[in-house]
Symmetry: C2
Subunit: 126 residues, 2 copies
């Protein structure tokens, strides 16, 4: 259950910082665009990026999203990867670029684009 008063942090086009675990156990932090819809988080990445490689090896991820209006509030969550979907047209990249207000940019080569799909399993907040 999303903590009361924190749901707007999943609705707004904020940067989420994604923590993944590398195959050797080291953590890695990456700022990410995201969209949360029908109970699932979606991110755009590429199949050769660390995020994708790490999640193929360890499908658990964590996010932290700061409230830009009250910077001592944040939403944290843990999620489990459900799928890595090929996205060779970059459709999710374009959807997120529009959501985040990045206009007029075209991907040079979307052939390795993927959508990371994850289901939140636990939330915390401050």
């Amino acid at each position: 259950v999303i903590p009361e008063g924190y749901g707007h942090l999943l609705e707004r086009p904020l940067f989420a910082h994604l923590a993944t675990t590398r195959p050797d156990g080291r953590p890695q932090s990456h700022p990410m665009w995201f969209v949360y819809r029908d109970g699932l988080l979606r991110f755009t990445s590429r199949s050769d990026r660390p995020q994708s490689r790490n999640l193929r090896a360890n499908p658990v991820l964590s996010l932290s999203i700061l409230d830009p209006d009250e910077p001592y509030r944040y939403l944290g969550l843990e999620a489990v990867l459900e799928d890595i979907e090929p996205d060779p047209t970059g459709s999710m990249w374009y959807e997120l670029a529009a959501r985040y207000g990045l206009e007029g940019v075209r991907l040079d080569d979307p052939s390795t684009r993927v959508v990371l799909v994850a289901r939140p399993t636990r939330f915390w907040h401050q």
Copy 2:
């Protein structure tokens, strides 16, 4: 070596998102205050917080820091924990509260406060 043009992200009072690995290998993301001085990162935490517990088990951490002026730029780094220093007066908390502009707040009970000290070993950027 800090990438050219990205050093200001370590100097300014920005939130860093800290990725740590839990003892069972799951990642966890936490927004953190920090200060970077003499080649070392310092954070305030408590000995019973997940950050401290995770770093005692796995001393590698990763940070991502967005450039608030150009949100598609960010600095990423990996660091290795050097020490968890007891800070029973909360001195690092007060130093960071002043750095981040949080005025007039007193800690109720700083007895479990610690300083996480880490040395960056690798940087990346976008």
